[in-house]
Amino acid sequence: MTAARQTGSRTFSGIMLVVVLVAGYFITKAAPNSDKLERSFLTTAHAGESVTTRQFIAKVTGVRYATILKEGTKTRNTDGAWVLVKVSFTALSKEIIVDYGDLVSGDGRTFAPTDRVTQNMLSATLQPGIPAEGEIVFEVPRSSLGQGISDRFGVIEHILYGLRKDAMANIILTEQGEASWLEPATITYNPEVKR
């Protein structure tokens, strides 16, 4: 091979190497990452309907709103709104705790249950076939009401690199555009879980 051909061959190899590296970068960018591959499966229904997941059945039986919440002798106010979701869980085949329950609003926000009141529903041990009912309380900005809100429930599993949620129930509480509650209201909250 002549010197000129050798030079041309090396340059071509160098260019192809760069092309492959760049292509590989864009391919890894476009491929779904581990979080997307391992995300939970959602089963969706509306309030009043039963949702059956892999480990439990969930049903939202009521939603209340307040600006002031009373629990025993404690009074809790907020600059946003209190949302109380009454839900029933029934374990299917084994003892579980439905320990995940976030509120998702149509404006893209996810709210964890408030820790300003006692929350027993998300720590209650459920025996298979025996329904348990109670309320879960959230504190949300008023701007998130009227955007459509849904509640997601699941069982948390501990894996090597952290926590993961098993298959989840996604229950739609209000649709976007539904009239959001406006009047101030005081509600008494009872954290008891009824079986």
């Binding site: 030079t7 340059t11 946003g80 926000r109 504190e139 949300v140 900005p141």
Partner: protein, 209 residues
């Protein structure tokens, strides 16, 4: 031209690569001057995860809502607004914990200190909501709150005239080991706030019957 490039020595190629890398790093702030002056109390510090305004700092002997201990407490009052779209709570939703926004450094006698990259720091022991003095572990997006972060300090430790508080910034990126995306601390955007420290130990002693 190809012949000219291929005819260059390895030293020349290495030097050219170094210049290109330097130029690229400059595009992403690599040539920026390190270190910014500390901010003053009352300054709103904005980061991708939260907006923080530090108001004041104090040392107290006890507080009825905090755990019973012989240690004294350093409290920093701040207004926090969660900017990220999830509640600051546990790691389940890949969100930093509630104690993540503020870090104390260079304070003697702090309990539960950790070391990272040669820097000693401590997460807050407890966070109180100022509106009702409730101990909280969760802050929600779109609901700014006045809170007080508390750190335990060995009893009788001398109280400095001021504190340097680090307001932590975080960036969403992939963990190079686990390959999962999560919030990671971004040291380049951390802001320090120097706040006067008020000694209120004499007026906050626990009442013993």
């Amino acid at each position: 031209m190809a012949a000219g490039l291929a005819g260059q020595s390895m030293r020349t190629w290495g030097a050219a690569a170094g210049v290109i890398v330097l130029a690229l790093s400059g595009l992403f702030g690599g040539l920026d001057q390190a270190g910014t002056p500390p901010a003053k109390p009352g300054t709103e510090i904005v980061s991708p995860t939260w907006k923080v305004t530090i108001h004041s700092a104090r040392v107290i002997a006890s507080h009825p809502r905090l755990s019973k201990t012989d240690n004294q407490w350093i409290g920093i009052t701040a207004r926090i607004e969660v900017v990220v779209d999830k509640s600051l709570s546990s790691s389940l939703n890949k969100v930093p914990p509630i104690g993540a926004p503020l870090r104390l450094t260079g304070v003697a006698g702090i309990a539960n200190e950790s070391k990272q990259y040669g820097l000693t720091f401590a997460y807050a022991d407890s966070v109180l909501l100022k509106r009702d003095d409730a101990v909280i572990r969760v802050l929600h997006p779109g609901l700014p709150e006045e809170v007080e972060f508390f750190w335990q300090q060995k009893p009788g430790t001398a109280v400095p005239a001021q504190l340097t508080v680090r307001v932590i910034a975080m960036v969403w990126r992939k963990d190079s080991i686990t390959n999962y995306e999560e919030w990671k601390e971004d040291d380049s955007k951390t802001v320090e706030v120097v706040v006067p420290l008020s000694d209120q130990r004499a007026t906050t002693k626990a009442v013993t019957s």
